[in-house]
Assembly symmetry: C2
Homo-oligomer: 239 residues x 2
Amino acid sequence: MRYELYYWPTIQGRGEFVRLALEDAGADYVDVARDSKRGMAAMTRFMESRSIARPPFAPPFLKAGKLIIAQTANILLYLGPRLDLVPKNEASRLWAHQLQLTIADWVSEVHDTHHPIGGGLYYEEQKAEAKRRTADFTAERLPKFFDYFEQILKHNPSESLLGKKVSYVDLSMFQMIAGLRYAFPRAMARFEPKYRRLVALHDCVFARPRLATYLASDRRIPFNQEGIFRHYAELDEQG
Amino acid sequence: MRYELYYWPTIQGRGEFVRLALEDAGADYVDVARDSKRGMAAMTRFMESRSIARPPFAPPFLKAGKLIIAQTANILLYLGPRLDLVPKNEASRLWAHQLQLTIADWVSEVHDTHHPIGGGLYYEEQKAEAKRRTADFTAERLPKFFDYFEQILKHNPSESLLGKKVSYVDLSMFQMIAGLRYAFPRAMARFEPKYRRLVALHDCVFARPRLATYLASDRRIPFNQEGIFRHYAELDEQG
């Protein structure tokens, strides 16, 4: 089956977690809104349509045959077993999904470092609040998330959160580390020596052949100031 | 099987979405941390243990036999078919879960109206920011969420988001309406006439016999100023 991914064409954003899974698995898919101007119009039609009985609230969403599936973690819940990126038994699938949902919460918190007041307002309109929120995020939240995932890796013999093969959760964790390095290079330089297992996981994922090809291609949109992970020097390790 | 729910004993919070499903289904469960002081200690032990291979990041979590499942929407994904609160086919389960994840995002946004800077800080330390964020939330986000869910109900002949029987998503939507009424009574008085299908869904869930019994019992913790939904007069419909 050829999957159709619908997501904003100019950012990595939440769609990137899905792209990484599809790319790593060598899946047959089309990134609809990047494909052509018609693709972007098709995405907008989906979102504005009042005739779809099961509409997405927001991108990303995936068309798989007749199914339209939205919410990043839900898309990965669906794709995981089909792309052989999660064990097939229910307990492992629930555990992988639980970790993915914790990553989703983390992603929202990263977004809110630069948009603590409202997603529809410019960063410049909430810069003072962004500074306060980011200070709290790097002091309290980042170490909490890192501690949690590093601790899970301690239970595993391999560089994988699920303990055996690489799963879609590992691909998402790679993306978190890469994104946080882009957004908060100074904070990350301080954190990384304490979380060596997570850094090893990042490196292990980065070296996967199909993923390395993807990351070096122009299909990988560079990090930029429109996505979830944004670099504002004034937010990174304020004094 | 007797389920064990672990959640903070003095608030509805995210745990309430699970409680409503268990109560509506008449499931055999124990609300561990409410049960005794030993229960609260047991919950803390789970969260601080470094020996659990698959630990929760935060409450709520559910013990079901040997499984420990965290993340509210993930718990409901697991319980839904077992409590007969979702259709059994995969497409409907994914759709229900997608809606539940959208509700989870909404819940986080409600939380951040009173805590836009950091969950570890007091409300009083972020009151100015809370006013700005809440103004944006009621102007931009509330109508967006309401429009979305009301539109879904328009496709359905019954007062149910999944279109036939009541599902766990309907129970969660009931909780959203009830919570928003507590937190933002003035804003809700203005919104409700526009979203009659959602109000009808709320009333329909409220009238379910087992749920009515639960809601009238002392097992239902009253809304209070420690939970997700909090009433601060200064945040509700500022001029």
